[in-house]
């Protein structure tokens, strides 16, 4: 698979078919852990690794797997990868592991992962599946981080607080802009609002693009 198509696949995951914004998959962690930027970013990275690993393994074994046993095998692969990631987090990012808590093991239940295994990795070669894993994972990570950023800014009045959870060292308060904030943003409804705004924002941008393209005479295909 050449470089261009690899990049193309990644772009699809990042924007056109973003798992959170378009496929609306994996919303449980998206809504639950995004109360701060660092939590969103870290869970996103963990999901990215699991997604890449599971896509590669599913794709590499796709010729031997009979369709009737494919689901238990996906579950096996994803569950072991998540266990490995959890152990790695506990060993090298213990405070992050505490802050994300149950949501690391719960990556198993993120339907974005099993969906990519079923829809993409089981039908495409390893290279394309890896690109798909990177693209989808990065798209999911960016969305988690963005939602976390907005909720933290409005709810706590801080930016990038607690980056020490990810990089170690002294506690970092981040940029403190206000003492406390609008509570609603860090409560569960805030997650729904932030996600709704993100989805709406993507749709607006896509519409604008189509309009521009059609006025320039390139033909207006409505992007998915």
């Amino acid at each position: 698979m050449n470089n261009n198509r690899f990049m193309e696949r990644i772009k699809v995951g990042l924007w056109r078919d973003n798992p959170g914004l378009v496929q609306l998959l994996g919303l449980c962690p998206l809504l639950a852990v995004t109360s701060t930027f660092v939590n969103g970013l870290s869970l996103g990275i963990a999901t990215l690794f699991v997604l890449c690993g599971s896509n590669v393994l599913v794709s590499a074994t796709r010729r031997w797997i009979r369709p009737e046993i494919r689901i238990p095998i996906y579950v096996l692969i994803i569950a072991s990868l998540v266990t490995c990631i959890e152990l790695v987090f506990k060993a090298w990012f213990p405070s992050l592991d505490r802050s994300l808590g149950i949501f690391i093991p719960l990556i198993v239940t993120n339907c974005a992962i099993v969906a990519r295994a079923e829809v993409f990795a089981s039908r495409h070669p390893v290279g394309a599946s890896l690109a798909d894993g990177i693209g989808m994972g990065a798209g999911f990570t960016l969305l988690l981080a963005a939602v976390g950023f907005v909720r933290e800014l409005i709810g706590h009045g801080t930016m990038f607080a607690g980056l020490d959870l990810l990089f170690g060292g002294e506690p970092m308060p981040g940029l403190v802009l206000a003492d406390g904030g609008w509570l609603l943003a860090i409560l569960p409804p805030g997650a729904f609002f932030a996600l709704a705004l993100a989805v709406a924002g993507k749709n607006v941008i896509d519409r604008r693009r189509v309009k521009k393209n059609s006025t320039a005479g390139l033909g207006g295909r409505l992007p998915r």
Binding site: C84, L87, A91, P94, L183
Partner: protein
């Protein structure tokens, strides 16, 4: 039996074996670090409840498990860390659970000096409302520090309550269930300590549960 079933079974078994090996290798590579981290995390979480008291040895090695039934808050096994200096008891740290919080159990660490004064209170775990009840956390407000230096006689037992309930301690605006539960747990721990002080410090250390 059809051969396709056998083949599927073999494939499943093979992949299960590979996945198990993957997890086993990762565990091999990480388990020592994880144990070390947990030890460190424990010591670090205990330190603030000690108010800079001098001590010797590793606190985590003096752990005492008190299985229910006991008169401490919560119905689960309570953990006590004894702190010694020159073989003399200095303080005891109680990890107890308040069951009457607003959202699930609140794990509280209560440090009590041998003389019976509070050396520090830390909230270990909770799921209270962000922005309201979570101000019991030391990093969100100074609320938990108001207990330092107080003991069972100061204020008297009836004073160990929120001001709103006729006690001596500050409340948290917008939250009453949470701080009430925390104060009650501290009070019960103090009462238990007063009643069982000597046996607490002479009991042999419990084996750490894996």
């Amino acid at each position: 039996m059809s051969s396709s079933v056998v083949k599927s079974g073999i494939t499943l078994a093979a992949i299960a074996a590979v996945c198990t090996a993957l997890v086993a290798i990762t565990w091999q590579l990480t388990h020592e670090r994880i144990a070390e981290n947990q030890q460190l995390m424990l010591e670090r979480s205990l330190a603030p409840a000690l108010a800079g008291l001098e001590f010797e040895g590793r606190i985590s090695e003096s752990m005492l498990l008190i299985p229910p039934p006991h008169e401490l808050p919560g119905q689960d096994t309570a953990i006590v860390y004894r702190v010694f200096a020159d073989q003399q008891p200095v303080a005891a740290l109680f990890a107890v659970t308040a069951r009457d919080g607003y959202a699930g159990p609140i794990r509280i660490l209560v440090g009590i000096s041998y003389a019976g004064e509070i050396t520090g209170v830390q909230i270990l775990e909770h799921r209270e409302t962000p922005g309201l009840g979570d101000r019991i956390e030391a990093r969100r407000s100074d609320w938990v520090y108001q207990f330092d230096g107080h003991s069972l006689g100061d204020p008297p037992l009836s004073g160990w309550a929120l001001q709103r309930d006729g006690g001596q301690f500050d409340q948290l605006t917008g939250a009453s269930v949470t701080p009430r539960a925390v104060i009650k747990a501290i009070r019960e721990t103090l009462v238990y300590f007063a009643a069982h002080r000597e046996e607490l410090f002479t009991a042999p250390a419990s084996e750490a549960a894996e």
